[in-house]
Structures are given as structure tokens and as C-alpha cells.
């Protein structure tokens, strides 16, 4: 087999972003995320990690530099990108099943196909029996599962996650972390994940990008060479502990700078 050039999933070259008032949020970010990676952006609040996701999805434009998503501009690359927000952001007037089908509906996929896909994904996220319920009847963890199912429904190649589990209790968060990796194995998307939790970053990632704030910039990049599949047992292993300690130390450095 000959080696062919594969465009990286996401490419940032010298990207800066400042607000209208001139305040610099991100300063000269260079970052390449290869297909199949799971990269976590780790940093204290205000370091611009959410802004990175907004730039990738084309919801906001850079003040300088270029961004490529699967070789395209962020807006053109959108079709294969899904976004998961910190809140589940479900439409309260729709049933769970209709919420999962939303992305497909907006893209013009017909009703039968939507129902089929929604049923399949709800089953995968462990909510096969609540399809006809309304969001207000669900717990926070269940809502987030629906939100994930909705994001996966459009078969994304890239999944952007903005602190999706920050509002959940630790037990729920750990379980969703484990399941997220399982879903990734099944669906083979590239993940970019934003968090301020070191444990979460180490557990999920193939690479951790530690950001420093004011303005947001890359402080260091740490590879996580823990083998997949990762299970709950990993959190108790000495390798995990050592790495978490190292990441913690680096994060503190980045914050104190």
C-alpha cells in the first residue's frame, strides 16, 4: 500500500482571536489534530478553550491565521461536525426521539429514516425506553445522553465537546466518560474535548493540550500513551496516577504563569 497524504481533521495555523473591544482571547495558536485522535483542551476558565471550539465550527471567525477542517473552511466543513454543549440544549417542546432526530431533520432526512436512526442511537446510549418522554422528565445525566445521541445521529467525523459533563455528579461523569470511549470505538470519530478536570482529560485523551490564559495560548502538549480500551479499572492504576500528577503540575504551571 502506498502512503497517501491525508488531510488532518483540524489544522490551526497562527490563529489569534480578539474581541470587538480589542481584548486578545487567543494568541497565535498552532495545532494539528489528526484523524482518529481524541484531543483534550485543558485550562482554567477564561483561557479561551471554548473559543477554540467555536472557531472550529465556524460560529466565530479568527482575527488572524487560518483554520482548516478536513481540508475545508470551518463553515464548509460543518456538515461532518457535531457539537455538544455544556448544557444538554434540548428543545423542551419535542420528545426525546424528536430531539435526537433534530440534526437529521434540519438536513432534510425523511421521517422514517430519522425514527430508525433515533431509535438505534437511543438504544446505544441506554435510553431505548424513553423515546416518547419529554426532556423535563429526565435527569441531568439522561439529558446529556440524549444530547450525545443527537450529536452522533448525523454520523459526524469530528465531535466537539464543550465541558459536556461539567454539571453532572462525579459518578455519572465517570460512567459517561467510559461510555463515550466505547461509542468512539464503534463510530470512529475524532474528538476535541474541553474540560478543566485533569482526571477526565487523562482518562479520555490521546493528547492533552494545556492552555495558559490572558491571552489564551498553548502552554504544552502531553501525549497520553495509556492503552485502549480504557475501563474504570484504569483510574486506579499507577500509570494513570503518575500521568494525572504530571498533568496537574503542568496545569498549575500554566495557570500561574
Amino acid at each position: 500500500m502506498t502512503e497517501t497524504f491525508v488531510a488532518p481533521q483540524v489544522e490551526f495555523a497562527g490563529v489569534s482571536k480578539s474581541y470587538a473591544d480589542g481584548r486578545l482571547v487567543l494568541d497565535a495558536i498552532d495545532l494539528t489534530v489528526a484523524k482518529g485522535e481524541f484531543v483534550t483542551l485543558l485550562g482554567s476558565s477564561g483561557c479561551g478553550k471554548s473559543t477554540v471550539l467555536k472557531l472550529i465550527s465556524g460560529l466565530t471567525s479568527p482575527s488572524a491565521g487560518t483554520i482548516r477542517v478536513d481540508g475545508m473552511t470551518p463553515k464548509n466543513g460543518r456538515e461532518t461536525v457535531s457539537y455538544i454543549f455544556q448544557d444538554a440544549t434540548l428543545l423542551p417542546w419535542r420528545t426525546v426521539r424528536q430531539n435526537v432526530g433534530l440534526g437529521l431533520e434540519l438536513e432534510g432526512v425523511n421521517g422514517d429514516r430519522r425514527r430508525e436512526k433515533a431509535a438505534f442511537l437511543l438504544d446505544r446510549v441506554g435510553l431505548g425506553n424513553v423515546g416518547e418522554a419529554y426532556p423535563r422528565e429526565l435527569s441531568g445525566g439522561m439529558k446529556m445522553r440524549v444530547s450525545i445521541a443527537r450529536a452522533l445521529a448525523t454520523s459526524p467525523k469530528l465531535l466537539l465537546m464543550d465541558e459536556p459533563f461539567a454539571a453532572l455528579d462525579e459518578m455519572t461523569r465517570d460512567r459517561l466518560n467510559e461510555e463515550l470511549l466505547r461509542w468512539r470505538e464503534e463510530q470512529q470519530w475524532t474528538g476535541i474535548f474541553v474540560t478543566h478536570s485533569v482526571a477526565e482529560a487523562v482518562f479520555l485523551s490521546t493528547r492533552i493540550v494545556v492552555l495558559a490564559s490572558n491571552p489564551g495560548r498553548i502552554h504544552s502538549v502531553i501525549s497520553v500513551k495509556l492503552p485502549f480500551p480504557r475501563t474504570a479499572a484504569l483510574r486506579a492504576s499507577p500509570e494513570f496516577g503518575t500521568l494525572a500528577l504530571e498533568v496537574s503540575r503542568t496545569l498549575r504551571e500554566a495557570t500561574l504563569q
Binding site: 467555536k54 465550527s57 460560529l59 460543518r78 456538515e79 461536525v81 457535531s82 457539537y83 454543549f85 448544557d87 440544549t89 428543545l91 423542551p92 417542546w93 419535542r94 433534530l102 440534526g103 431533520e105 434540519l106 438536513e107 419529554y134 426532556p135 423535563r136 448525523t154
Partner: protein, 263 residues
């Protein structure tokens, strides 16, 4: 079941006590019937002139209902324009406040002059007076959509039409109902007030306001009371219809329904 019946029984006791007090005042102070008729005389007037009462009631109901319906349609359309941009809102919002503050009794003679006496003029008055709350509340609902939901729609390259019909409008429905609830009360008041000025001049075709005016000029105080009673019933009727519609459209998903579940 018992928890619901006890407050109802209490309310009926209060009602009975009020009737007794009313009757007592008549006996003690020997009030002439044309000043204050007995509850019994009012009841007799209701029965004796029931067809006329119902006719007046339905005329006023039609005018208030027509005015309310028109303000819901127009209010939603205007709110859609207001929701387009902050700039449009700043430019036009003062005029909705004007709509709310202009005394209806002051412009009623004008409307009478332009449209002529009758149901059309009264419906127009009910419409004008009930429009502002629909505009204000619906606009608020349309523009208060969570930014991330808008982002979500944009991520799927949603068209402006999809954003409107699948996101902004459904999101505004609870606020729209808040507006309709307020508007329904003032539409009834507006119609009755309007009839005092612009009610039909033909006997037997006037609504409640017109009939109240007529009954008072004839010193038919018992019938006057019956008409006031009918006006109250009409207000309650509108309120319950709107409450029912609100429940019907929102009870499955809106948080307000959860508050009721918890009670």
C-alpha cells in the same frame, strides 16, 4: 378529591355570607329597590330576561373575541418584525407603549366618528386595547432563545425559515400565552367600555355595555345587576378558555406544568 372540595365549599360559604349581608343591608337601611335591588330580584331579572341577557352577552363575547383574535394575529406578526433586530425594536417600541397608555375612552369618540356605531367599532376598540401585551410578551419570547440552541441550528446549516418555525416560534409559545392571558381580560373590558360609546343604537341588538347604559337610564337596577353579573361571567369564560388552551398546548413539556404537578 377532598382537598379540592373543601376550598370550593369555603368559597360557596363566603358567597352565601355576602348574599346575607346584602339582604341585611336592604332590611336595616330600607334601601329603595331602584338604588339596590335584593339578590332575589336580581335572580328574578336573570330568569325573566334570560334571552335578552344571553343575546347581549353573545354580542359582547363576539366583539371581545374578535378583537382578541385580531390582536393575537397582529401581535404575533408585529412581534416577528420586532424580533428581527434591536434597531427595529428601538425604533418602534415607544409606539407600543403609546398603545398601552392612550386612554381608550379618549379615542373611542374618534373611532365612533371614523367607523360608525356598532360591532365593528367595538371590536376595533377591543383590538387596540389588547394588542400591546401580545406584542410585548411574544417579542420577549422570540428574542430570549438560548444562544447555544441557535448555534446548534447553525451547525446543521439551518435556514432562516427553519430557525423561525422550529426554534424561535415554539420557544415563544409560553410567552405568547402570558400575553394572551393579559389581553383576554382587557379585551372584555375594552368591548364593554367601547359599547358605552359605540354600542349598537338598535334596541335589542346592543351588547352588555350598551344594555347597562340603557338599563341604568330606565332605572331597571335589577336588570343592571344581572348585566354586571353577565359581564363577570364573560370575563371568567374568556379566562378559562385561555387557561385551557394554554394547558392543552403546554402541559406536556413546559416547566409551568411541572409546578402544577408538584402542588
Amino acid at each position: 378529591m377532598r382537598r379540592r372540595l373543601i376550598p370550593l365549599a369555603n368559597a360557596l360559604c363566603v358567597f352565601a355570607a355576602m348574599l346575607l349581608l346584602w339582604q341585611a343591608v336592604l332590611w336595616i337601611f330600607r334601601v329603595p329597590p331602584f338604588m339596590l335591588p335584593s339578590p332575589w330580584a336580581v335572580a328574578r331579572a336573570v330568569v325573566a330576561r334570560f334571552p335578552a341577557l344571553v343575546a347581549s352577552l353573545s354580542i359582547t363575547a363576539g366583539e371581545a373575541g374578535g378583537g382578541l383574535l385580531a390582536s393575537v394575529v397582529a401581535g404575533v406578526l408585529i412581534a416577528l418584525i420586532f424580533a428581527q433586530s434591536r434597531w427595529v425594536r428601538r425604533m418602534l417600541y415607544p409606539y407600543t407603549i403609546l398603545l398601552q397608555t392612550v386612554p381608550i375612552v379618549a379615542i373611542a369618540p374618534l373611532i365612533l366618528m371614523w367607523v360608525g356605531a356598532g360591532a365593528a367599532a367595538v371590536t376595533l376598540i377591543a383590538f387596540i386595547i389588547s394588542l400591546a401585551p401580545v406584542i410585548a410578551n411574544t417579542t420577549q419570547g422570540l428574542i430570549s432563545v438560548d444562544e447555544n440552541l441557535v448555534h446548534l441550528f447553525l451547525m446543521h446549516n439551518a435556514s432562516p425559515k427553519q430557525l423561525l418555525f422550529k426554534l424561535r416560534l415554539p420557544h415563544a409559545v409560553p410567552s405568547l400565552f402570558v400575553g394572551i392571558r393579559i389581553a383576554s381580560g382587557i379585551a372584555v373590558i375594552g368591548a364593554i367600555t367601547g359599547e358605552l360609546y359605540a354600542g349598537s343604537s338598535q334596541v335589542g341588538q346592543g351588547g352588555l355595555g350598551y344594555s347597562i347604559l340603557y338599563a341604568s337610564s330606565q332605572l331597571q337596577t335589577d336588570y343592571l345587576f344581572a348585566l354586571v353579573l353577565a359581564a363577570t361571567v364573560l370575563g371568567f369564560g374568556f379566562f378559562f378558555v385561555v387557561m385551557f388552551l394554554e394547558w392543552y398546548f403546554l402541559h406536556r413539556w413546559h416547566e409551568s406544568a411541572r409546578a402544577q404537578d408538584a402542588e
